[in-house]
Amino acid sequence: MKVGLFIPCYIDQFYPQVGIATYQLLKKLGCDVDYPENQTCCGQPMANSGFSALTGGCDKNFVANFDAYDYIVAPSGSCVLHIKEHLKDDKNPTKAQKIRNTIYELTEFLVDILKVEHLTSNFPHKVGFHTSCHGQRGLHLSSMTERVLPQFSKPEQLLQKVKGLQLCYPERKDECCGFGGTFCVFEEAVSVKMGKDRIEEHQKNEVDYITAGDVSCLMHLEGILKRQGSKVKAIHLAEILNHE
């Protein structure tokens, strides 16, 4: 099984440790992982801002990089959802379609494809889980409070296998953190207020860390935590699962 590792641009540039943890974790779990070195961005920042007409270059580059793999895995629900919903390549429609069908967010890949039963991870801390919207409502990584359907959570399933980890949820279990791509600057006031409110609920639980499946949410929450001088740290789920 050949796995292509997709490390979204802002993780590549600002959070390499998340890419490293994802890579090491997949290797540990026996995957044949490759990082195609000419990858850049999925095109989501432009598309979500209304400029999907400008994503042709990103699409082309993505297809060229990820065409050769059985599976593509990324530690970001949001970028994966974008590819799944919007990747197109008029010259290679079947290649684009194949990529859309075989791209996975990390936790769904671990649960649904690798069917991970045991993890050697150890993380003896109190961890608050932030549910990232695109992973949850877009990729259905977990059930949501809006619907009347059976409850499940793929990330939680994995976090429960981590030794020493005490998992907590905020009072509003699945409310958006307010990052929202370019929303975070064009609607700065609402964005920050949403983030502050999420953090407050996690702080009520006296957590050491806030974790999530998306670095974008964490980058936003971390920015606010640091400004507040909070002791609470943001950490990506892959870093916890890879922690021994």
Binding site: I7, C9, D12, Q13, F14, Y15, P16, G19, I20, Y23, Y35, E37, T40, C41, P45, M46, A47, N48, S49, G50, F51, A53, L54, T55, G56, G57, C58, K60, N61, C133, R137, M144, T145, E146, R147, V148, L149, D174, C176, F179, G180, G181, F183, C184, F186, E187, E188, A189, V190, S191, V192, K193, M194, D197, M219, E222, G223, I224, K226, R227
Partner: protein, 459 residues
């Protein structure tokens, strides 16, 4: 009305949020309604099935709207109701004015109708020297304050009891500083009762118009639609063309969904069925298009017309709860308003589809399964394509797209960007950087993942 657009959503929201304690109160109040909704819908095992049925009935109706509308007209006329057709808001208002003039009427009561808000009927009639008294408590409160409703189900949800007390003291001469809700409600009750008794004509909205029977249903919690319609000699009901449902039995689906989604009640206190005028009464229905057929013609947006105006998407929206209805500067605010209003005026409402994080809660709470957040995304594309976006934004996006299309340039830009942020942090940490206003910048590492991988892939 004082809701004429002056600020875009982001700017208005920033002002709203400045009073953080009040923002928290607004957020909590609406979240409480969302929680009531959750409790109510979880009490029904077949909830998802009901949503699916409602969605299918509405889709079917929208695909056969012409037939159902004419069938409704025929039945309603056979029942003795006069039907009027209005192409737009102005024609709706003119038709109403014509009915008022023909009967020389000056005393009018109106129960809640978002359509008349959309058409700005009160303003129009005021200019003709005619005053309409809104009888929904929340609507009356905002009317006395010369404000627009901030929510389609809870029009005065942006106000605290203290605000209501001040407003009533000024207009209804209640005791100054008496904030007791019971006292204030009783004062409103007495005040409105006088208007009901004297009214010559009652305007109501329509929640559901039934093609099969020619009748219609109006849902209220206060009974004010009934009070108006039963005391006045003339009843005028206003409805958008999308309010049609094929059969009376379909009410069994929609009435179960509506109130649970709106307020968490199993059903509204009054679900009033109007079939024909009582002896000596005149009954009119004004059926309004006002952009709806245009929306019906937009493949990506037509199913927004499935909306039954429950406002569940308002209550669940983390952006709405923290920015208030007035920041949307339109009669219908919230997520649904953000996909309906660009159709009415794309330029004036170009900001609204961007007033969302695309979290998707709205689409999943929607009782008729409108893919609201996906339509928000699609409206963004249309708005950019039509050129209603700031040139700076366009330039920035073009720059980003170019960088991301060229791996070498992307890596060079990333590396130099990080170098600048590390060695000259003031380049990022300054007032021009909107991110930095209330958030620290992420740390810029020396090595990207790409660089690490190159060093470590063969280890």
């Amino acid at each position: 009305m004082s809701n004429l657009k002056t600020l875009d959503h982001a700017a208005a929201a920033e002002i709203f949020i400045k009073d953080e304690a009040r923002t928290d109160w607004h957020d909590d109040t609406l979240w409480f309604v969302r929680q009531k909704r959750d409790k109510a819908v979880n009490g029904i095992a077949e909830w998802e099935q009901l949503r699916e049925w409602a969605s299918q009935i509405k889709n079917h109706t929208l695909s056969n709207l012409d037939n159902y509308l004419t069938a409704f007209e025929k039945q309603a006329e056979a029942n003795g109701i006069k039907i009027h057709w209005a192409a737009d808001a102005l024609e709706h208002n003119q038709l109403m004015h014509k009915i008022l003039k023909a009967h020389n009427i000056s005393r009018i009561v109106k129960s809640k109708s978002m359509l008349t808000e959309e058409c700005h009927l009160n303003d129009y009639l005021k200019k003709q020297g005619i005053e309409v008294v809104d009888t929904d408590l929340g609507e009356r409160i905002v009317q006395l304050r010369d404000e627009a409703p901030s929510h389609i189900v809870l029009p005065a949800i942006h106000l605290k009891k203290q605000d209501v007390s001040e407003t009533f003291h000024e207009h209804l001469h209640t005791e100054e500083g008496n904030n007791d809700p019971q006292y204030l409600t009783e004062a409103a009750r007495q005040h409105l009762r006088d208007h009901f008794i004297q009214s010559e004509l009652a305007i109501t909205g329509v929640n559901f118009a039934i093609a099969e029977t020619g009748g219609f249903v109006v849902c209220t919690n206060e009974g004010n639609a009934d009070m108006g319609a039963h005391t006045a000699k003339i009843h005028v009901a206003c409805m958008g063309i999308e309010k049609i449902i094929p059969k009376a039995e379909h009410l069994g689906v929609f009435l179960r969904l509506l109130a649970r989604s709106a307020t968490g009640q199993p059903i509204t206190t009054y679900s009033s069925h109007f079939q024909k005028p009582r002896p000596g009464q005149e009954m009119h229905i004004i059926i309004v298009d006002n952009g709806r057929t245009k929306q019906l013609g937009r493949a990506d947006f037509r199913n927004s017309l499935k909306c039954i105006r429950c406002a569940a998407c308002f209550n669940t929206c983390p952006v709405y709860r923290r920015s208030g209805g007035h920041s949307y500067h339109t009669a219908v605010a919230g997520p649904i308003g953000s996909i309906l209003n660009p159709n009415l005026d794309m330029k004036a409402n170009a900001d609204l589809p961007f007033a969302s994080t695309l979290c998707g809660s709205c689409s999943n709470v929607c009782p008729v399964k409108i893919d609201i957040h996906e339509q928000l995304w699609k409206w963004r594309q249309v708005i950019v394509e039509e050129g209603y976006v700031k040139p700076e934004k366009k330039i920035a996006m073009k720059g980003m797209a170019w960088i991301f299309s060229n791996p070498k340039i992307y890596r060079w830009a990333g590396k130099s960007g990080r170098w600048f942020l590390r060695t000259m942090p003031f380049l990022g940490n300054n007032k021009l950087n909107v991110w930095y206003k209330q958030r620290e910048m992420p740390e810029a590492p020396k090595q990207s993942f790409h660089d690490w991988y190159q060093q470590n892939k063969n280890k």
